[in-house]
């Protein structure tokens, strides 16, 4: 069965790029424009993988990532962070939230800093989904 991959990114350019990569690699793309819509889509479609941007309006990727990782129904969904933000800055924000909210959220499985070649993205997706 074709695996479902959700792209959460507010930039339409990024969405069309990732969607094309997914199609080219025989995955079924789903899209969401922001954190709030992303969570709705995840709960509704239960995707096999989420490709998540960090800086977005209405519930950033930082927030959505935490929501997924602290929800026992959703924490198993693999996530590829796909962003222009340096990993160091992302981890810093997560550590700050760890301290603030208590508990510790695991680091993302794969962290890709834009720009990324299509092959690189495809390889990362394959690594997670086979």
């Amino acid at each position: 069965m074709t695996k479902k991959v959700l792209v959460v990114d507010d930039d339409p350019d990024v969405r069309s790029f990732v969607v094309t990569v997914l199609e080219e690699n025989q995955y079924m793309p789903l899209v969401a424009q922001d954190g709030v819509e992303g969570l709705e889509m995840i709960e509704k479609h239960k995707p096999d993988l989420v490709i998540l941007d960090v800086l977005m309006p209405r519930g950033s990727g930082i927030r959505l990532y935490r929501k997924l990782k602290t929800n026992e129904n959703l924490e198993k969904i693999p996530i590829i962070m796909f962003t222009g933000i340096a990993l160091r800055s992302f981890l810093k924000s997560q550590r700050a939230l760890d301290e603030f909210k208590g508990g510790e959220v695991p680091k993302p499985d794969i962290y890709l800093e834009k720009p990324v070649e299509p092959e690189e993205l495809a390889a990362a997706i394959k690594k997670k989904l086979g």
């Binding site: 507010d10 930039d11 339409p12 350019d13 990024v14 069309s16 790029f17 990732v18 094309t20 990569v21 199609e23 080219e24 922001d34 709030v36 800086l55 309006p57 209405r58 519930g59 222009g84 933000i85 834009k114 720009p115 070649e117 299509p118």
Partner: protein
């Protein structure tokens, strides 16, 4: 030096000897003669300070001797010894300038008193001489000092960096220093003592200084002011000027004007603003790099999608990718324009235009984005504004920027239950300024964001903002002599108001 040498003249030897002895014992130096002729010889030879002479002598008598001595040296003291009742001779002696009279027989006390008086006179005269001499020196010194001071003042006026122009009570130029020559461009010989204020200055300037002279007498000094003066040869010079109205004993005697050429200062000020701006662009580089990277991501992604579209002969893909590429080309174009606008000095180009139309066009450009994100865009234009003289580019770009920001603020808002809207309003305020208000009910700003709003490298939009938008807007508005105001409340939205002074076109 006290007068100490006394010449005693008497034809009676005994009297001469007695007097001489008596005076010597009092500490005087004496010389003696026994006739008028001899007396004159001794006087010439020994130059005594005081002469005591008998009046009645054979040959040259006392009066004759007195006369001769006074001719030789009018300052010598001559004491005349007279007999009783010799009134006529006494009067003649007085006329000849005798200093004192003592009666015969000569008593020591009387002589002592007469001598003392004579000595005092000599002493006073000496002092007077000294004083006179001193006074002459002092006057000479003072004259020299005054000359030096006035010379110094003249030099001061001459070498002053300020242009100094003074007028007498008839408004004729009396001081016109070299800097004034440079500033007003008229030779000193044609101006000083020749021109009046109306001939040297333009009418508006002449009026300023004439009005000052007519104001209350208790104000004589008028503080520095700035003005752009126009010289007769049509040069425009930015100056600071000040003036003093001069009174002497309550009478108006003239006025002095000082001018400082601000051309260089103004140029440096402009240069400073420019270099600060360039420095700010430098600071923005890290933010810019991020933004440019985002454009690159878009272009790369777009070209990949286009490639796929071509390879698969998929027109839909091709179109999507091509749209991405075009959008990012536009972003580069906008960025370049923002950078140019921000880093370059630009004068607004005023032309008759209708602000409402320009705002309408700007709003039209962003409407699609707003609608696709479920944001309501409402406009409310004051129709009475009509055509005004303004720079359409300033209005267009500022409004486009503010409306884009307002839409972004709605998109950033985490409260999705809100019905988001952006209201754009134009109106005239009580000062006849044209106002453009852009109000959103989006996320609003916290204090820190609010504070950094117009800072160069600041963007609250992550990699999606250049940090140049409001900077450019602020600069455009400033160049248009307008103001921009911000009101914001975190979670409730922001209102930006631009006020521009606009003239009606002729």
């Amino acid at each position: 030096m006290s007068a100490n040498k006394i010449l005693i003249v008497d034809d009676e030897e005994i009297i001469v000897r007695l007097l001489s002895m008596s005076l010597r014992s009092d500490g005087y130096e004496t010389v003696t003669a026994y006739s008028g002729e001899q007396g004159l010889e001794v006087f010439k030879a020994k130059s005594p300070d005081i002469v005591v002479t008998d009046i009645k002598m054979p040959g040259m008598d006392g009066l004759e001797l007195l006369k001769k001595i006074k001719e030789l040296d009018p300052e010598k003291e001559v004491i005349i010894v007279t007999g009783h009742g010799d009134i006529d001779s006494t009067i003649t002696a007085l006329q000849y300038g005798a200093s004192d009279f003592i009666n015969k027989p000569v008593r020591d006390e009387a002589l002592a008193i007469a001598l003392k008086r004579a000595k005092t006179k000599i002493a006073i005269r000496k002092k007077l001489e000294e004083y006179t001499e001193n006074l002459e020196i002092k006057v000479a010194e003072a004259t020299e000092e005054i000359r030096r001071k006035s010379n110094f003042q003249r030099l001061l006026i001459k070498s002053s960096n300020d242009a100094i122009v003074a007028f007498d009570h008839n408004w004729k130029v009396i001081v016109y220093n070299p800097e004034a020559v440079r500033m007003f461009g008229q030779a000193a010989k044609d101006v000083r003592n020749k021109m009046t204020i109306d001939e040297l200055y333009t009418p508006d300037m002449a009026k300023i200084f004439k009005n000052q002279a007519q104001s209350e007498k208790d104000q004589t000094t008028f503080p520095w002011n700035e003005k752009i003066i126009k010289t007769k040869d049509e040069r425009q010079i930015p100056v600071r000027y000040a003036s003093d109205v001069l009174y002497e004993k309550g009478e108006f005697v003239g006025t002095v004007n000082f001018f400082q050429d601000l051309t260089e200062i103004k140029r440096l000020e402009k240069e400073l603003v420019q270099s600060e701006r360039l420095a700010a662009v430098g600071q923005t580089v890290s933010g810019l790099a991020h933004y440019v990277k985002n454009i690159l991501i878009g272009l790369k992604g777009g070209s990949y999608v286009v490639d796929v579209g071509i390879a698969k002969d998929n027109t839909e893909k091709f179109k999507t990718g091509w749209k991405t590429i075009k959008r990012n080309i536009k972003r580069i174009g906008d960025l370049t324009q923002d950078l140019l606008t921000y880093s370059k000095q630009r004068e607004p180009e005023f032309e008759p235009c209708n602000p409402n139309d320009i705002v309408g066009e700007a709003v039209e450009l962003v409407k699609d984005t707003a609608v696709s994100n479920d944001i309501l865009v409402l406009t409310e234009f004051d129709k009475t504004i009509g055509k005004v003289l303004a720079d359409p580019q300033t209005i267009h770009r500022s409004l486009l920027n503010l409306v884009n920001n307002a839409i972004d603020a709605c998109l950033e808002d985490e409260d999705t239950s809100k019905k988001h809207e952006v209201r754009i309003k134009t109106y005239k305020d009580k000062n006849k300024m044209i106002c453009f208000e852009v109000k959103d009910n989006g996320c609003g700003m916290d204090k820190d964001t609010r504070k950094q709003l117009f800072d160069p490298m600041f963007s609250s939009k992550g990699g999606k903002g250049t940090g140049l938008g409001l900077l450019v807007t602020g600069k455009l508005i400033e160049e248009h002599n307008g103001v921009i105001k911000t009101e914001t409340s975190l979670g409730n939205g922001s209102t930006f108001t631009i006020k521009l002074p606009c003239k009606k076109p002729n």
